[in-house]
């Protein structure tokens, strides 16, 4: 019978390993997120373009990557692509799969954000004779960015959590390290428990950090809420002192 305290002590002595794993997790996630954003922006533009062929191609890409499992996509990147002549390291394959997967979701998120700008905004801009460029960059884009900010942050969290699958292609990210430590020490609960704690800390840091960043760069501040479920994540914190006067409805 192991003493729980010795168990944790042993596992915690591997903290260096866990942190290196965490570093790889962060590296692959950030890289994938950057590429996913690029895909998302280009894809959303393609979906809104006049050319039907562009819309169809991106549409097919989105449906394929949203209706098949990420694990399968990781295997295709790592086992399938080399057979087609494109050998990738496990890090590269992982980044590619994560980026392609998240990119599909981001295409829809960004497209949705642009479409959510009310047509009345375009009317007002048109009547003021703002140019099409100005209308897009100064009226539509700022509003769309405010709309897509929370779902995009959430997608980043999903990438970080999804990177755990890369352990299946032997990438020594956090989950892979936990498995290694588990097989060495046989202290299962502690090994995976430590990993769970680290993931929890990271996802919370991302959420809180994005809230703070949002409070800094968005004025007026983003609406409180975010009670969206499903793919949505946190409730937004209302950070005291950064909001201006309370919201008035007509009639007050």
């Amino acid at each position: 019978m192991h003493h729980e305290s010795t168990g944790w002590g042993t596992v915690l002595s591997h903290t260096d390993q866990f942190l290196s794993g965490l570093l790889i997790t962060v590296e692959v996630s950030v890289l994938a997120f950057i590429f996913a954003l690029i895909i998302g922006i280009l894809g959303a533009a393609a979906r809104r373009s006049r050319f039907r062929i562009l819309r169809v191609i991106v549409g097919i890409y989105v449906e394929i990557f949203r209706n098949t499992p990420l694990l399968l996509q990781v295997f295709v990147a790592f086992f399938g692509l080399p057979a087609l002549g494109l050998p990738l390291t496990n890090f590269q394959a992982g980044a590619v799969a994560l980026a392609a997967n998240a990119g599909a979701y981001l295409v829809e998120i960004i497209r949705g954000g642009l479409a959510a700008v009310p047509p009345g905004q375009l009317d007002a801009a048109h009547v003021l004779s703002l140019t099409r460029t100005d209308t897009f960059s100064r009226i539509v884009l700022p509003q769309a960015i405010r709309k897509v900010y929370p779902p995009i942050v959430n997608q980043f969290v999903q990438i970080v959590l999804g990177s755990s699958l890369l352990s299946a292609i032997a990438l020594p990210e956090l989950t892979g390290v936990a498995q290694t430590v588990n097989s060495e020490t046989l202290l299962t609960l502690q090994s995976f428990g430590f990993a769970l704690i680290l993931y929890l800390i990271v996802s919370n840091i991302i959420s809180v950090g994005s809230n703070l960043l949002g409070a800094v760069i968005f004025h007026p501040p983003l609406e409180a809420g975010g009670r969206s479920a499903g793919k949505g994540r946190r409730r937004w914190l209302i950070i005291p002192g950064t909001n201006k006067e309370p919201r008035l409805k007509s009639g007050v």
């Binding site: 007002a124 003021l128 004779s129």
Partner: protein
């Protein structure tokens, strides 16, 4: 002549919304369009603003001829429009809403634009709210900012598309006050509204639209007291019934 429209026709899909509308508005005139929903009054206004393209007909607004149903060159602020849903830019403060077109379209410098902008906001009684965002303003205040935004461009023509329909009753008054003041100062206005009091007090001419045509028009007293057409009478009775 500020607006010279003849035989404007417009269809949306299968529905023929405007079936040949002709309208002349002189400088300084205040013209009020009334009619049931679907009669085409908003569509007519939007065509004049260049937001919709007429299918048929001749049109010239503020000296700009139309071709293929749309203006041949941008109005650059000569036509101002105020919308039912205000359409303020929510990410910009009141003063930023008012000055964005002054800077980007009229190419005023920042200090010049701010001066004009603050003056426009003060004219509608909201100089003290320049830095507020639309979400911090009541509906009536938002609509007044929208009016200031249009007026800051020094338009020759102001269009109002049911400007008070989305407001709580106690806020309608403050917007109506601004609109009446504008009418008295000699602005050329075309106003689509359900507020008959405004039509009575401020309009030079009232046009009743029904089913895509102008059924009847005349001075407010004439139209309201002794309408010639049956449908005009029916409409006015229905509206009066709601007001009583």
């Amino acid at each position: 002549m500020i607006v010279n429209a003849s035989n404007i026709q417009k269809a949306f899909g299968d529905a023929q919304v405007l079936k040949g509308v002709s309208l002349e508005v002189d400088a300084g005139e205040v013209v009020v369009l009334i009619g049931a929903s679907g009669s085409g009054k908003s569509t007519m206004l939007r065509i004049i603003a260049g937001l919709e393209h007429a299918d048929e007909g001749q049109l010239s607004v503020c000296g700009t001829p139309f071709a293929h149903g749309k203006p041949t060159s941008p109005f650059n602020g000569r036509v101002g429009m105020v919308f039912q849903q205000f359409n303020l830019f929510p990410h910009l403060s009141a003063i930023e809403n008012v000055t964005i077109a002054l800077r980007r379209v009229k190419h005023l410098s920042k200090p010049q634009a701010e001066r004009s902008g603050v003056a426009a906001l003060e004219n509608v009684g909201l100089g003290h709210k320049a830095k507020s965002y639309p979400s911090q303003l009541s509906g009536g205040q938002q609509q007044r900012v929208a009016i200031a935004r249009a007026l800051a461009m020094e338009p020759d023509l102001m269009l109002f598309d049911e400007a008070t329909s989305a407001l709580d009753p106690e806020l309608v008054g403050e917007v109506m006050k601004v609109m009446r003041g504008l009418a008295e100062s000699g602005m050329t206005m075309i106003v689509v509204t359900h507020e008959m009091e405004f039509a009575r007090k401020a309009a030079d001419r009232v046009l009743f639209m029904d089913n895509g045509v102008i059924l009847e028009q005349g001075k407010p007293t004439e139209l309201f007291e002794s309408p010639r057409e049956d449908r005009t009478r029916q409409f006015l009775q229905r509206v009066r019934g709601a007001e009583d």
